[in-house]
C-alpha cells in the first residue's frame, strides 16, 4: 500500500536544504559616517553604483538634498559573461563615463567590487578617485575571503545605520578579494577612514580623498 502511493519512496536525504534568507537586515557602523561626511556639503552629488532603489532615493534625497547618480553597474555584471573581463571593463567604463557628469562628493559602491577582477577594479577605482572631490568619501563592502558568488544583493537604506539586503540569484562567478593593501593601491590618493570586519567575512570600509 505504501509502495502503491509512493510513501515508501520518500527518503530523508531528499529533504530540501534549508533556504537562505531572501532578505537580511543589519546595522551599519560606517554608513552614518558616510552620511555625516556628505551632509555638510552644499548640493552634494552622490554616485550609487548599485541599482536604483526607491527607498534609497527617498532617504538620500530627503536627508541630504543631493543629486543622485545611478550607475547600476550590476546590470553590466549580470549581462556580460564572467569569462569576458575585457568586455566587462569596457562596458563599465562606458557606463561610468556616461553617468558621472559632475564631481562627486560621495560614492556608494556597496559590494560591486566583489564582482570585478583586480584589473577591472583598479580601473574603476581610479575613475572614482579622479572624479571624487577633495574630502569626498567612498562607502563599500569588500570580501575578506575568496569564494563564489551565486546571488547578488540589493542594499536598501532603512535608516541612518540600518541596511537591508535583498538577494536575487545570479549566474555564479568568482568573488574578487581585495586586501587592505590592494585597496590602498587601487584607491591611490585616498585614506581608509573606517574598516569594520563583519561576521559575513566582509569588510565595510569608508575611504576619503585628501
Amino acid at each position: 500500500m505504501a509502495g502503491l502511493f509512493g510513501w515508501g519512496a520518500r527518503k530523508p536525504e531528499e529533504a530540501p536544504a534549508p533556504e537562505r534568507p531572501l532578505e537580511t537586515t543589519s546595522t551599519s557602523v560606517v554608513l552614518p559616517r558616510f552620511l555625516s561626511a556628505v551632509a555638510p556639503r552644499a548640493s552634494p552629488v552622490i554616485l550609487d553604483l548599485g541599482p536604483a532603489v526607491g527607498t534609497n532615493v527617498t532617504f538620500l534625497g530627503e536627508r541630504l538634498a543631493c543629486k543622485l547618480l545611478i550607475g547600476d553597474l550590476l546590470h553590466e555584471v549580470q549581462t556580460i559573461k564572467a569569462d569576458a573581463p575585457d568586455d566587462l571593463r569596457a562596458a563599465l567604463m562606458s557606463r561610468l563615463e556616461r553617468t558621472v557628469t559632475s564631481p562627486l562628493d560621495g560614492v556608494l559602491c556597496w559590494d560591486v567590487f566583489d564582482y570585478l577582477n583586480r584589473a577591472t577594479a583598479q580601473v574603476v577605482a581610479a575613475f572614482l578617485v579622479q572624479h571624487l572631490q577633495p574630502g569626498g568619501v567612498v562607502h563599500g563592502y569588500f570580501a575578506a575571503a575568496a569564494g563564489d558568488i551565486d546571488r547578488c544583493a540589493r542594499y536598501v537604506i532603512q535608516g541612518p545605520s540600518t541596511l537591508t539586503c535583498r538577494y536575487e540569484s545570479v549566474p555564479p562567478r568568482r568573488r574578487g578579494v581585495l586586501s587592505t593593501r590592494d585597496l590602498a593601491t587601487i584607491f591611490a590618493g585616498t585614506t581608509v577612514m573606517e574598516s569594520v570586519l563583519l561576521k559575513t567575512q566582509r569588510r565595510e570600509i569608508l575611504i576619503r580623498k585628501g
Partner: protein, 184 residues
C-alpha cells in the same frame, strides 16, 4: 407655478430661514453640480492610444495618458502625465507630475512629483522635488531632488551672503556676525 415663486421672492431676504423655499432652491442647484462633475471627468481622461505614434512636440493644459509612442518633447507644465504600460517615449518630458508605467528614454522634469511604478523603465535624468521609484522599476541616470531642500538652503544662504556686501537693513544692525560666518 414659476410666477408664484417669483412673486414672493422679493420678501425672501427679509425671511431667509423659512423652510418652504429651500426645496425649490435645492432642486435648482443639485442638477448644476451633477452636470459639472461629468464634464470635469471627461476632461481628465484624455488618452493617446496604443497605435498612435507622435513625432514632434506635444503640449497641452490637461491631464494626459499616453499608451502609444512619442518622440520629441512633451510639455504639460500644469498637469499630470501618465505614461502607460504600453507606451514608449523617446522625449524630453516637462509636467507637473509624471507617472511612468511604460518605457521612457529621455529626461523628465516635474514641478511636483515623478513616480516610476513597477515595470516602468526610465533611462535619463530626473528633476523633481519628489521622486518615487517602486520595487521592480528600472532606472538609470541622475536624480536631482535639490529643489525641495535646496530651496531651504538657498533661502538661508542669500540671507547670509547678501548681508555682507549690501548695506545692512535698518532692522538688522546685528548683521555684524555675518562677516564672521563668511570668514569661517
Amino acid at each position: 407655478m414659476w410666477k408664484r415663486e417669483e412673486a414672493p421672492r422679493p420678501p425672501q431676504p427679509v425671511v431667509p430661514p423659512t423652510a418652504p423655499p429651500p426645496p425649490v432652491v435645492h432642486q435648482s442647484t443639485t442638477p448644476r453640480v451633477e452636470s459639472v462633475q461629468p464634464a470635469q471627468q471627461e476632461k481628465a481622461i484624455v488618452n493617446i492610444g496604443k497605435s498612435v505614434i507622435i513625432k514632434g512636440e506635444l503640449s497641452g493644459s490637461e491631464d494626459l495618458t499616453i499608451e502609444g509612442q512619442v518622440e520629441g518633447k512633451i510639455e504639460l507644465r500644469q498637469n499630470v502625465l501618465t505614461i502607460g504600460p504600453n507606451a514608449k517615449i523617446k522625449a524630453q518630458v516637462l509636467a507637473r507630475a509624471v507617472v511612468v508605467e511604460g518605457t521612457v528614454q529621455g529626461n523628465i522634469a516635474a514641478s511636483e512629483k515623478i513616480e516610476i511604478r513597477d515595470k516602468g523603465s526610465v533611462e535619463g535624468d530626473l528633476s523633481s522635488p519628489r521622486v518615487a521609484i517602486a520595487d521592480g522599476a528600472h532606472f538609470r541616470g541622475s536624480i536631482d531632488m535639490q529643489q525641495a531642500k535646496g530651496s531651504e538652503k538657498h533661502e538661508a544662504k542669500p540671507a547670509a551672503s547678501n548681508a555682507a556686501p549690501s548695506t545692512p537693513a535698518p532692522s538688522q544692525p546685528t548683521a555684524v556676525p555675518a562677516p564672521v560666518s563668511v570668514a569661517r
